[in-house]
């Protein structure tokens, strides 16, 4: 046992000597949290808009000032004609244009009413729809102002409640995703590279000749990364709670337990990868490119999996990160208990055991 | 200064308070095989890097092939060859491609590249391997190849940094045969090593301890001076009191 500790301590030295990698390792989640928490949002505001006002009467100007004072829009230079509008679109300054016809004010009270034309840049379809909706609502509002004596129309008013996120915090669902990514990077990529490095340098043979059981070699390599992952995890949690005002609604103990389970899954994956290759470059490419991309795309925190083709949905079910993501969402953000996540936990457990067994078997085969 | 290959006066390299190279002075004659001995950490590699134009000295002067190490590093590089511990041939290029690259880089004409590479390959007995990737060669051959590439452009001086590490005694012997041949062709050989038996092969050697040159003479003179039979013992006498040894 004592020898094992000595070995583990050596591994820690290796890890901590590489200051640059450590810096990035801890820096990455911090930066990601800050970005997702403060800078990025799927909200739509400050979008450039131009107005072509052929009428210049009070009414059109009233609508224009309404648009100007809205935080959804950022008014750009007014257009004098259609080519102007086209040019501004092509310069990338606007995503939307509003056009008032001549005699707008006068036409308002005729039977046919007045026309307003809205042009939206549908390159980004969602933004376009949202912008058009905003404008529609603003105009409807204005109409209401104009027709105060008219019996107000019957309205169904939807009252929105944001479950689990009453304070309307930007992008909460990214946090479990960030955590899952970090675990994959640290535990899978780094572990696999560390083991392969040993192989490349030739020192692996030395270790194998020592009185250590081969299993111990792998365990000792993996432990520093387990610790690193947990430290990272704590940092992310602290940041989320104190910087982003996120509430950890569920049981911390359960959260930690599940995280340790997932970390072990990732470590097993890393160990398995290290067994299939002898070159650091390949190990890196497999774990970073091969694992990272599917994790990013198919875990579900960036894009909804249900909308993807069946193939991807199937692959998503094979990814351990997918289950971890569901668990963290449920426990940390929704405050649910073990009852709700036992299935996913079981799956992770089976995956861990399976991967670990496979990794060990391959390792032993190599030796003989 | 009559055409000495290397002239060094009070050469010093300091990192903060630490003097890696402490005011060393020596001359190397043309065509000489000069051994630069010392324990790891004694300052050998640092000194050599200055002479190769890889590093600026903190103070002192040095002329390599007649060129000043402060102001004429590019000229120095044109006139020297270099082979390091790591051998540094490209593993994923063939023997011929490696030769062509280094030959071209040193300005050897296309015709000469062709003739000399055929010569080189046949001298080493590697005709059948000429189109094979260097990475597939055993260590000993790689090392001999690296030396040949280092002198391919007929430099005035060739610097060898611990060239025989990890290689069997027979290959080492063959390697030194190549060094003798180069010296006979007029190339000055500046070689660092910590194999004391190789010291016997040199015309003159200097021993560095803690950044200073503690002895410089022919091997036999040194053995007489310290009253020992082997260079090992000479070295032991000198380096006993060393403060820096090992990395």
């Amino acid at each position: 046992m004592k020898q094992l500790f000595v070995f583990i301590r050596k591994e820690f030295y290796h890890v901590f000597r590489d200051r640059r990698t450590l810096l990035i390792l801890f820096g990455m989640p911090i930066v990601q949290i800050i970005l997702f928490g403060y800078a990025l949002s799927s909200e739509v505001k400050n979008i450039g808009i131009t107005v072509l006002d052929n009428s210049h009467d009070i009414q059109s100007e009233q609508i224009i000032s309404k648009i100007q004072s809205s935080s959804y829009f950022q008014m750009q230079e007014p257009s004098l004609n259609y080519p102007d509008i086209e040019r501004q679109f092509r310069e990338g300054n606007i995503k939307c244009a509003v056009i008032f016809p001549v005699n707008f004010g006068a036409d308002l009270y005729t039977t046919n009413g007045a026309q307003i034309r809205i042009i939206a840049d549908a390159s980004d379809p969602n933004t376009a729809t949202i912008l058009t909706n905003y404008l529609n609502a603003m105009i409807a509002d204005y109409l209401q102002q104009l027709n105060p004596n008219i019996q107000p129309s019957y309205q169904i008013i939807p009252e929105m409640r944001q479950l689990y996120n009453e304070e309307q915090n930007g992008s909460l669902n990214f946090i479990p995703g960030v955590i899952a990514l970090i675990f994959m990077i640290v535990s899978t990529a780094l572990t696999s590279v560390a083991v392969v490095r040993e192989k490349e340098l030739g020192t692996m043979e030395i270790l194998l000749v020592s009185p250590f059981k081969p299993v111990m070699v792998l365990v000792a390599k993996a432990i520093p990364y387990l610790v690193l992952s947990l430290v990272n995890f704590i940092i992310i949690l602290l940041l989320s709670v104190y910087l982003l005002d996120v509430e950890i609604r569920g049981s911390l103990v359960l959260l930690f337990a599940e995280s340790i389970l997932f970390i072990i899954t990732c470590l097993s994956l890393g160990l398995l990868i290290s067994n299939v290759t002898n070159s650091q470059q390949t190990a890196m490419l497999i774990s970073m490119m091969g694992m990272m991309l599917p994790t990013l795309l198919l875990t579900g925190f960036m894009f909804p999996v249900e909308n993807m083709p069946i193939v991807f949905q199937v692959i998503s079910r094979i990814l351990p990160s997918r289950y971890y993501y569901d668990i963290v969402k449920a426990v940390m953000l929704k405050g649910l208990g073990f009852r709700y996540v036992w299935k996913e936990t079981l799956i992770l457990l089976i995956m861990s055991v399976g991967l670990l067994a496979l990794a060990l078997k391959k390792f032993k085969i190599r030796l003989s | 200064m009559e055409n000495k290959a290397i002239i060094c006066r009070d050469l010093t390299k300091q990192f903060g308070d630490f003097k890696a190279v402490d005011s060393i002075s020596f001359d190397v004659d043309q065509g000489e095989i000069f051994g630069f001995l010392g324990a790891n950490g004694a300052g050998k590699t640092t000194a050599m890097r200055i002479l190769c134009g890889l590093s600026y000295p903190t103070s002192g002067t040095a002329l390599v092939a007649g060129f000043n190490v402060y102001k004429q590093q590019e000229q120095i590089k044109k006139n020297i060859g270099y082979m390091s511990q790591k051998f540094s041939l490209y593993d994923n290029l063939t023997i011929l491609e490696n030769i062509e690259f280094y030959g071209g880089v040193y300005g050897v004409s296309r015709k000469d590249i062709k003739t000399r590479s055929t010569e080189l390959v046949s001298t080493l007995g590697l005709e059948n391997e000429a189109k094979k990737l260097v990475g597939s060669l055993p260590l000993g051959w790689k090392q001999k190849l690296a030396f040949s590439v280092a002198v391919f452009h007929r430099p005035k001086i060739v610097f060898l940094d611990e060239p025989t590490g990890g290689v069997d005694p027979i290959t080492r012997r063959q390697f030194w045969d190549m060094i003798y041949q180069a010296a006979a062709d007029g190339i000055t050989v500046f070689v660092t090593t910590h194999y004391m038996d190789e010291a016997e092969y040199c015309n003159r050697i200097s021993v560095m301890v803690d950044g200073r040159v503690e002895a410089m003479d022919t091997p036999s003179n040194l053995k007489k001076k310290f009253n020992t039979h082997s260079m090992d013992d000479v070295f032991y006498e000198l380096a006993r009191g060393a403060k820096r040894s090992g990395d």
Partner: protein, 374 residues
């Protein structure tokens, strides 16, 4: 320069013998361009709405019917209590719960307005958020079609009411498909990976093996070495770009509206900037692992901030300024403008100057940092 020819020959030989680089060059573009757009999808569809209808009136039925036929939503269930609806969200079977209170129709007709409860699973990110706002607009739409309102509008009022008819047109993406937005962005991502990653890895590999030391001793000058790395990878990058454009056309039918020449000019400058970044990274890393990590870090930050996923306009001021400091932001903007809107060179000239600035800055820093002699 004779030496350059030898250097370039060596580099090209090495690149084509390196299977990993080849895979990255040719396989990756195709894989990424095909797989990512399929997965990277912000479309709103199949949003699972469960409804709790306490009223069961004709109005509530009509509302539900409208929601179901809007094409965005799936009526995923009809629990009989709000609590049960919440449970369905907890279990992940629902994204939204719509609760229609008892007496819905009666209150609507009598008092003129009626609230309905819309609970959104805010953890589910974009899907639910967008779903919520779409649902709101469906309801608004429904409002205007209520026959009560229609009867109202036929009543002779005291004076003619003001009326506005809104005509909406979509430009540049008539079928409003997400892929038109995503695919050009993915193309940029590809170039970014090649420029930043691969170059950095390649140079650091030489550092690790020790061949750089050998180069340092030769008469090869600083700038020759750097050019010897930049040129081959630049050519590789432009090749990948071309392959990407071809894939984009063959698989998605997207052909740039604007000038191909302008696009290529921008790509060329962008690549130079990114190669400079890769070079710069290589001066900071001692091992391939470090290089990979540093490159990954920068790529990630750049991609997130660049407007690839989210609108740059919606960012807070400080974030937007930062996003302008990354070359990716500008190139993505330009690629989308040229490919989808057919912008001319003059119209995107500001971005061009930004990119040139980056190219000069990054390469300058890299060259300064890269010292043969210390």
């Amino acid at each position: 320069m004779r030496i350059m020819i030898f250097i370039l020959r060596k580099e090209f030989r090495q690149i084509f013998r390196d299977k990993t680089i080849l895979a990255m060059m040719f396989v990756m573009p195709i894989v990424q361009l095909i797989i990512m757009p399929l997965a990277a999808n912000f479309e709103v569809k199949n949003v699972n709405v469960v409804y709790v209808d306490h009223d069961h009136s004709s109005y509530s039925q009509k509302l539900l019917h409208k929601i179901a036929s809007s094409g965005y939503f799936k009526l995923a269930g009809n629990p009989d209590s709000y609590k049960k609806g919440l449970k369905m969200i907890e279990e992940g079977n629902a994204d939204l719960v719509l609760e229609i209170p008892p007496g819905f129709e009666r209150s609507l007709v009598r008092e003129g307005s009626q609230k309905v409860n819309l609970s959104v699973d805010a953890i589910n990110g974009t899907k639910s958020a967008l779903g919520g706002s779409y649902l709101r607009s469906v309801i608004n739409d429904f409002n205007s079609s209520l026959d009560v309102n229609i009867k109202l509008s036929f009543r002779k009022p005291d004076h003619t009411p003001a009326k506005i008819i809104i005509k909406e047109t979509n430009w540049y993406n008539p079928r409003a498909e997400y892929k038109y937005y995503m695919v050009p962005g993915i193309l940029v991502l590809l170039l970014t990976l090649i420029g930043g990653f691969i170059t950095a890895l390649n140079i650091v590999k030489e550092k690790e093996i020790g061949t750089i030391e050998q180069i340092n001793v030769t008469p090869i000058k600083k700038w020759q070495f750097i050019l010897g790395k930049l040129i081959p990878f630049w050519i590789v990058g432009m090749t990948v770009f071309t392959i990407g454009l071809i894939v984009m056309y063959v698989i998605y039918g997207i052909f740039p509206e604007g000038s191909l020449l302008t696009l290529y000019v921008f790509a060329a400058v962008y690549l130079i900037a990114l190669l400079g970044l890769g070079l710069l990274i290589s001066t900071f890393a001692d091992t391939q692992l470090q290089a990979m990590f540093i490159a990954y870090f920068f790529m990630m930050v750049f991609m997130l901030m660049s407007g690839f996923f989210t609108n740059t306009e919606s960012m807070p001021d400080w974030a937007r300024k930062m996003s302008n400091l990354t070359p990716v932001t500008h190139f993505i903007k330009v690629v989308r403008l040229i490919v989808l809107k057919g912008s001319s060179f003059y119209e995107v000239r500001t971005e061009f100057f930004y990119l040139i600035g980056f190219a000069v800055l990054l390469n300058g820093l890299a060259i300064y940092n890269y010292r043969k002699t210390n």
